[in-house]
Symmetry: C2
Subunit: 413 residues, 2 copies
Amino acid sequence: MSIKAGWKVKPHAAIIGAGRTAFGEQWYKDPEKLMMDAGVSAVESVDLGLGRRDIQACYFGSFLYQTTNKLGLVSGHMARELGINIPMNTTEAACASGGSAFYNACIAIKSGMYDVVLVGGFEKMTDRSSKIIDDLMFAADPYEFDSGFTFPGLYASMMARYIHDYSFGDQRCIEALAQIACKNHHHAVNNEYAQYRRDITVQDVLKSTLIADPIRLLHCSPVSDGAAAVILTKPELAKKYTDTPIYVIASQQATDDISLYTRESMTGIKATRLAVGKALREAGISIEDIEIAEVHDCFTIEEAMFLEDSGYYENGKAWEGIYESYESFKGSKHIPYIKNGKELIVNSGGGLKADGHPVGATGIRQIHECFTQLRGKAGKNQIDKDLNLALCHNIGGTGGIATVHILARDIHE
Amino acid sequence: MSIKAGWKVKPHAAIIGAGRTAFGEQWYKDPEKLMMDAGVSAVESVDLGLGRRDIQACYFGSFLYQTTNKLGLVSGHMARELGINIPMNTTEAACASGGSAFYNACIAIKSGMYDVVLVGGFEKMTDRSSKIIDDLMFAADPYEFDSGFTFPGLYASMMARYIHDYSFGDQRCIEALAQIACKNHHHAVNNEYAQYRRDITVQDVLKSTLIADPIRLLHCSPVSDGAAAVILTKPELAKKYTDTPIYVIASQQATDDISLYTRESMTGIKATRLAVGKALREAGISIEDIEIAEVHDCFTIEEAMFLEDSGYYENGKAWEGIYESYESFKGSKHIPYIKNGKELIVNSGGGLKADGHPVGATGIRQIHECFTQLRGKAGKNQIDKDLNLALCHNIGGTGGIATVHILARDIHE
C-alpha cells in the first residue's frame, strides 16, 4: 500500500457484486432486458449468495431511454421484471447518469434506510442510427445546438484550444492525444466485454476520418448498447456476502454551466476539479496514491484534461506526461502514466473509447472494472500488481456534471 | 390533535420554505425558467432568511422534459442559473417524478450529507399540443400503447370495472365519481395559483365530452405548465430558519408492474396500498388521524381508489362515502370526506383536477399545499381548522410507482 501509515477512513458503502453485458451492437435486446441481464449477473456474482428479494431498493441511470427508446417510468418495468415492489429510482445526468445513480445509491446506504441496494446503468443507442447525434445534444446548451455544434464539435473546440494554448501545435502533443486512443484500445484486447478488441496505431488515429477538426474518428468513443450493475451494502454487513468486498471511501458530485461558452476555461473541466478535489480530501489521500483510474474518455482530450484537473500532471503538461509514458511503456500489457517513478493505470479495460460508451451504463461499468481489478478477478486482463486504491470519474455533457468515486480494497476504519 | 397521547416520532426532515408558479398555460417561459421561478420563491419564503448559497444539494423531478422540451442534463442548466456548483440530481418517475425527487431528498437529509436541500418539480406540456398524449404513454406498457390505449383509456378500464364490480352501475356511484371533480374545482376557487378557478356541477361533468367511456372531459386533470419547490433541512436545524417548520414524519415509495394487464386487480393500486401502509406504520398513526390529504386525482376514479387503498373507506365502498359526504357538505368552503363523524379534507387547493397537473411539478405542489395549510398560511383558501397531520400521495403511470409522505406540524421526538 502506498498511503501513509495510520490512514483511517470511514466508507460510505461496500460493493459486494458486479455484473455487465457485452458492450457494442445489441440488436435483439430491449434496453430494460439489457438492464435485467446485467442486474441478474450482478446478483449472481455475490460470492456467498444473494437472492433478488434481498434487494431493498434500486437506483437506475440512463440518459436517452425516453427519446431514443420511447421508454419511461423504468421503475415500473423493473418492478414487473424482478417481481418485487421495492423503491426504485431513475436518475438522468446525461453521460454521467450511471455515476449519478451510484452517487445517490451511496447516499441511500449512508442514510441507513436500506441494507442492500442494486445500482444499474443502461443505454441502447445503436438502433436510433444517426439521429442519436441530435438526441445527445439535449445535454448541451440549446444555443450551441442551434448554432450547429455536435458533441464532437464541442470537444474539438476544447482540443483545439488545448493544443494551441499548451503546445503551440507541437507534433508530440498531437501524437499524445492520439496515443490515449491507442492505449485504451490496447487495454481492451483482453477484455471479453469490450466493443473494440483490437490495437490501433498513432498513424491509424491521425489518418482516420476527420469529424470536427482536430477530432478524428479514432479520437471518439463509439455509439453503443449495454448495461452494467453493482450491488451495494452497508460496510458493516459486507463480510456476510463476500470475503473480499470493495469499499467506497469517497463519493462526490459537482455541477457547472451546461454551456461551454459561459465557462471560465476551455482547457479544463471545473466540475471534475471540484469533485476530484473533494473526493481526495474525503478519502484523506492524494492523487498520487491512486493506482488505477477509470476516466471519462468520451474524446481523448477529456482524458488528458482529467490528468490536469485531478492534479496528476501540471496544467498544460499532461500531453508531455502522456507522450513520455506511452513511448516508455507501449507494448506492455497495461500502459501506465508515469510521474516521479510512480505509475497510474487509466482505463484498464479500454475506457469509453474501446470498451464502449452506452452512456447511462458507463458510470457503472467503471465501478465494475475497478471492483474486478481490485479483487484480482479480471482474468486475462488482470493488472499484474497488488492494487488497493481506484478512482472512477464520470462526466455529463461537456462537463455540466461530474461524479468522482474512490474505491479501496483494504481500509482501516 | 387527534392522535394518541404519548405519540412519538423521529422525523426524516423539516420543511422550511415552499414556492410555486401559477399552473396553466405559460407560453413565454422555458421549463428551466419556471423551475427557477419556483425555486427562488421557495428560497425567499424562508422566514428567517436563506441565501441561495446556503443550498447544498438540489433534487429535481420532471417527466417529459427530454422528449417534449428537448432538454437534458437539467443539473447543468440549474448550475448556470443558480451560479453554484453543488450536487444536483434529476429523477424521472412519470407523474410521480416530483414525489420521487422529494423521497430522494429526504434520504439525502437523513444521510447527514447536507444541511439544506432544495427539491423542485417542473413540467412544460402545453406547447407540445396533442402530441403530449403519445409522449405520456412512455409511462405505460408499450403493448398497451400499440393496442391503442391512451391514459384516459387505461383509467377508463379501471373506472368501468369499479362501477361494474362495486355498484352494478348504480347512478349514485356514477354521480360520486363526478362529485370528486366538482369538489376539487370548488376547492380551487380561492387558490390564486390554480388553473381552473370555477365551480362545476355534477351535470356539467356527466354532459361533458366523452373521452374514453366512462371517462368524460371533466373527469380528467388537464395538461399544464408549472413548477413548485420546497426547502428541506435537518429537523434539528429547522428552528434556525423558521419558527414554524413542518416535519416529514414518513417517506415511502413502492413500485408495481408498469402494465395494467399483468396486475392482480383493476380496482385498486397495489403500489399505493404498500406505500401508504408503510408510511402510516412509520408515523405510528392510522389513516383516520390524517386531517388533510393531497391525493393523485389524475382521473377522479384514482381519488376514489385511494380512499380504499389507504383503508379510509372499505373496498368497494368509497363511492358511497363520497356521495354521502358531498351531499352533506356541498357549498362548504372545503368539502370533507366523512367517516364516523370525523372529517378528511382531500385536495384542498383543487388537486390535479383543478389546480393543474404539470406532471413533474405535481408531487412537489402537493407538499407545498400541505406545508401552507398546516402553517395556516393559505390566505383566502385556508381551511378553517387547526391542522396537524397531512398526507401526500403521488403516483406514476397507472400505478407503476407510488410515493406517500406524511407531514406533521407538532411532533414529539
